[in-house]
Structure formats: structure tokens, C-alpha cells
């Protein structure tokens, strides 16, 4: 059941350069699935901001999100503190449908603020006994976060654009070296990265998660569409039919 709630911030800490981890309490937490997002209202801003669910603690009835300062809205959000309330619509969108998948080894490919949703996904995969390998790309060392957490899920490789940490280059460089011992990949990150990854792994089954400027976040305004690969005269709403799509379902610009 999608709903609008006023949620208490339990913790709000900086975990990397301009990158914040926020824990919120909501009774809905246990229903949240990996890949879904929440849609956040900020006073003084007309539109909400979509942010992915990065982790869930069903017992504590809390969930975590991780965001990076991008513009005015995320800058505003960075000033919140534990104890403040946040007006949130949740849960939004589709999830990685791992309950229906038969798989033994999953490759997670994340870039920048596309990394967070993969963490919760990886945790659930590991709980199901799936082997998890993670390839994470960041701009530079100062932006890297959650490396140890991903390591607890399985092998984890980091690429940075400037080489200041891990391997210099792109996630695709690491993927080339890895070979392809996995049966499914799951990727989230900037569109150019998704395009490169889906091209590189064209012969693999995979799911990707997309971003687009949103209005409603629930499917009424048609702001957030992406054309279908099979028929580019038709499109899907990222907020409702996505953000998770089959890798070959949609056409990346």
C-alpha cells in the first residue's frame, strides 16, 4: 500500500564526500523491496525528490537511504538532523524480482548514487544463498562508501574514474577482467554507465534501474517515461512501471 507518511529521522550521518546516510523509522519498512524508492517532500520545493531504499531493518521497522548532494534539494536534505521529520511517499515503483528468479551467482554493478539500492538487493540475495559479486564505480576515493558492507556480501571491486582508489577506470573495465561466471546481473547508475554495461553484457540476463526527473512519483503525470526497445513509439513510466526494468526492455538514450 503506497502512502504518504511523516517519518522520524533516527540518524543522519555523512559517509563520504557530500554523501549522507539517513535512517528513517516506518512501520512499512518490512514491506519495502530492493529497487523501490521513496519520494521526499522538502519545504520550499514544489517537487519531491526520489531516493532509493538502500537497506531495511524489518525488526527495528527502519530503512536506510543514501544520497549525494546534487542540487538545491539534496543540499537542503543534507541539513536535516536526527529527530527531524521527513514527509515521504513510500513505497514507490517496482523492485528487482528476485523472488521469481532462479540464480546462483549475481553480479551487482553500481555507479555513484546507483550503488545504494544494490546493497539491499545484495543482502537479500545473500540471504537466499546466492553468491554475490559487486563492481562499484565512483568518481574518486573521497566518494567511495559502503565498500566493507559490500565485502560482507561477497567479492567486491571498486573502480574510480581518477584512479585515486581501487582500479582506475570504469566498472566495465573490471567486468571485462571478471569474465562472466554469473547468471544474472543487476545494475544501477548513471545512464551512460547503464548503456555501457547493458551493451557489454548483452548476452546476459539482467535488470537495470533507471532515473529520470519526476513529478508525481506515482504514475499520474507522465513525466518520467522511457521508450520501449521493442517499440519506441511506446513508453513506460519509470516511477510506476520501473525504476527496475529488464535490461533489454527499454531504450537508453
Amino acid at each position: 500500500m503506497i502512502t504518504k507518511q511523516s517519518l522520524e529521522i533516527l540518524s543522519h550521518i555523512q559517509i563520504a564526500e557530500e554523501t549522507f546516510e539517513v535512517v528513517l523509522r516506518s512501520a512499512l519498512s518490512k514491506e519495502l523491496k530492493p529497487g523501490q524508492f521513496v519520494h521526499i517532500a522538502l519545504p520550499g520545493h514544489m517537487l519531491r525528490r526520489p531516493v532509493s531504499i538502500a537497506n531495511v531493518d524489518p525488526e527495528a521497522e527502519t530503512f536506510t537511504m543514501i544520497f549525494k548532494i546534487f542540487g538545491e534539494g539534496t543540499r537542503h536534505l543534507s541539513k536535516y538532523q536526527a529527530g527531524d521529520k521527513l514527509d515521504v511517499i513510500l513505497p514507490c515503483g517496482t523492485h528487482y524480482p528476485i523472488e521469481n528468479l532462479k540464480l546462483e551467482h549475481a553480479l551487482l554493478v553500481g555507479g555513484g548514487i546507483g550503488v545504494p539500492p544494490l546493497y539491499y538487493l545484495g543482502k537479500q540475495l545473500k540471504d537466499k544463498g546466492v553468491k554475490v559479486t559487486s563492481v562499484l564505480g565512483f568518481q574518486s576515493a573521497s566518494q567511495v562508501f559502503y565498500e566493507e558492507k559490500f565485502q560482507q556480501l561477497g567479492d567486491t571491486f571498486i573502480a574510480t574514474n581518477d584512479g585515486s582508489y581501487g582500479q582506475k577506470g570504469f566498472v566495465t573495465d573490471i567486468i571485462s577482467e571478471l569474465g562472466s561466471p554469473f547468471d544474472y546481473y543487476f545494475s544501477c547508475g548513471p545512464t551512460p554507465m547503464l548503456k555501457a554495461v547493458t551493451d557489454q553484457l548483452a548476452d546476459k540476463k539482467g535488470y537495470i534501474s533507471l532515473e529520470e526527473r519526476m513529478g508525481c512519483g506515482v504514475g499520474t503525470c507522465y513525466a518520467c517515461v522511457v521508450p520501449l526497445k521493442a517499440d519506441p513509439t511506446k513508453n513506460k513510466k519509470i516511477c510506476k512501471d520501473g525504476p527496475v526494468f529488464l535490461a533489454n526492455e527499454v531504450s537508453l538514450a
Binding site: 534539494g73 529520470e212 513529478g215 506515482v218 499520474t220 518520467c224
Partner: protein
């Protein structure tokens, strides 16, 4: 305290309805509340055939407003009738179909096709569309074109027709008089103002379509002024007012300016519960300012001279 409003084809339990394009076909927001609470529902624009709409990004945020260039994405009038409207039958809330087109013929086709549906109560004729035959001039900015399309749609339709005026004109009363003269049963105003935002990093307009329609509280003073002017010029025409409504005080301001009922657009995106919240607040606001019914407040912001 009576909230009811009676307008051609519309017997409303209250004057609050979601605006076209800001509520889809109702399904999504029905997860948030019981749509029976609404005075009416104006659904997303219907065109003759399915439309993809514009490339993305389609929206941008501005100070107290937003820009949109959705580009009339919709599955086409036939599919709307068969796949979308039946869902709304479960509610006792009148449905207003918003219609759009690129030629007079397309408008007429959509209007005629809608006659087959029993699920609607009225038509909102969106004339803020460029006329492909007339080289892209908007129907809504040329009184002659506006008259023509109104006249033809009135002829084609069995339902009352509310013409939705564009604010991007030098003289709004000229437009209002033109369409009322052509038989419009009522007016719906205002649609969005054409605006633009430029992305400094990309050195290009944020919206892929370059320009978009400005909505939200930023435009409220323009909406109020235009409704006031049209109400001065046409004292009896039914007006559905809209443009930046965020709360029940805003609703009263529109009623005082001369609107008979109002639509809430952009505010739905910020707060999906906004319509029922406004409906709940409205009686208190009306009585705080000395009104005993919605109908009593209509047009009362006009100074009576002498």
C-alpha cells in the same frame, strides 16, 4: 454549510476537483483516498490517436512552480473509453474528459467518440494546443480559431463543453467572449503559462521540448486576475478556476474572483492527499470569512460600486 455547486452537466458535492494531467485517470490516487470525496475528476487529455508525448526531461522545478512539457501522452480516446474510464464507475463522482487535438477535425473526432461513453459528465476542451494546419498557431491564442473549434466541438458533443483558456494571450476577455459566443457551456481557466529554464551545466533548456508550461502558486496572481476580468465581462458564465491552488484559502480567493468551482493541479504532486485535505478545511475557511455556502462566495471579491 453547503459545499454543493451546480453547473451545466455537473452536480458537485463540493467545488474541488483534480486538474487535467495532474491526476492521470484516477487509479493511482485512489490508493491514497476514496475518490468519492472529490467534487469531480478531470482526467488526462484525450487525443484522436495514441500519442507518445515529448522526449524527457519533461518537468523542471521553479520558484513556487514547475514547468511541464508532457506533450499530451495518452493512449488515444478509444482506449481511454475502454481501458481507463470504466475503473471510475465505482465512484459517485462526475468525470470530466479533457480533449485535445492538432486539427479541428481531430477535436471533433474525439468529442464524437466520447459521446459513446456513459462514464463522463462533461468535456473540457483544451485549446492550448498548436494547430498543425494553421502552422502551429495555438487554438487558444487566436479568437477566430478558438471560436471555430468550440463551435464544432459543441456541435459534435452531447455533453456540456467547458473551454479551457490559455493565459498566454494579450486579452483574456476577448478569448472568453469568443468561445462563449460560440456556445461554450462554461470556461476552465487557466492553463499553464509558457516558460523555460536553462541548465547551466548543459547550457541548454532543462526541458527537452525547450519550453514548458508553468504551473503552481507562482501563477496564482495571474489566474486570479484573469478570472476576475472574465467574471467582470461575463457575469453568468460558469467558471472552473485553477492555477496554483494549495489550500482552502486559495480556493476561497478563486471563488471571490468569480470561479464557481476549482481544480487543483500541481499541488497533487507535492501532496497526493491535497484534494481531500482541502475539502475538509473548506467549511471552516468559508465560515471564518463569513460565508454559509460555496455558492454565496462566488464573485464576492468584486467591489460593488456605489
Amino acid at each position: 454549510m453547503s459545499l454543493t455547486v451546480n453547473l451545466p452537466g455537473l452536480s458537485l458535492k463540493n467545488p474541488i476537483m483534480p486538474a487535467s494531467g495532474c491526476f492521470g485517470f484516477g487509479k493511482e490516487y485512489s490508493q491514497f483516498y476514496d475518490l468519492n470525496q472529490l467534487g469531480a475528476i478531470i482526467v488526462k487529455a484525450a487525443t484522436g490517436e495514441a500519442r507518445y508525448g515529448n522526449p524527457t526531461p519533461r518537468v523542471a522545478e521553479t520558484s513556487s512552480g514547475m514547468l511541464n512539457a508532457i506533450g499530451l501522452q495518452n493512449p488515444g480516446v478509444e482506449k481511454i473509453i475502454t481501458d481507463e474510464l470504466p475503473f471510475l464507475r465505482q465512484y459517485h463522482t462526475p468525470i470530466i474528459a479533457n480533449i485535445a487535438g492538432s486539427t479541428v477535425e481531430e477535436y471533433v473526432k474525439v468529442a464524437k467518440t466520447l459521446n459513446q461513453s456513459q462514464d463522463i459528465a462533461a468535456i473540457e476542451l483544451n485549446i492550448s494546443c498548436p494547430n498543425v494546419k494553421e502552422g502551429g498557431v495555438q487554438f487558444g491564442t487566436d479568437p477566430e480559431l478558438a471560436k471555430q473549434v468550440t463551435d464544432q466541438v459543441k456541435e459534435a458533443s452531447d455533453y456540456p463543453v467547458y473551454v479551457k483558456l490559455s493565459p498566454n494571450v494579450t486579452n483574456i476577455t476577448t478569448m472568453a467572449k469568443a468561445v462563449v459566443g460560440a456556445g461554450a457551456d462554461g470556461l476552465s481557466m487557466i492553463n499553464t503559462l509558457t516558460g523555460m529554464q536553462i541548465n547551466l551545466k548543459k547550457r541548454a533548456p532543462v526541458i527537452a521540448n525547450k519550453t514548458g508550461g508553468l504551473s503552481g502558486p507562482a501563477i496564482k496572481p495571474i489566474a486570479i486576475r484573469m478570472i476576475y476580468e472574465v467574471r467582470q465581462a461575463l457575469s453568468n458564465v460558469p467558471i472552473i478556476g485553477m492555477g496554483g491552488i494549495m489550500n482552502a484559502e486559495d480556493v476561497l480567493e478563486f471563488l471571490l474572483a468569480g470561479a464557481n468551482a476549482v481544480a487543483v493541479g500541481t499541488a497533487n504532486f507535492q501532496n497526493p492527499n491535497i484534494c481531500p485535505e482541502i475539502i475538509a478545511e473548506l467549511p471552516g475557511i468559508l465560515s471564518r470569512y463569513g460565508f454559509e455556502s460555496v455558492e454565496e462566495a462566488v464573485g464576492k471579491g468584486h467591489i460593488i460600486h456605489g
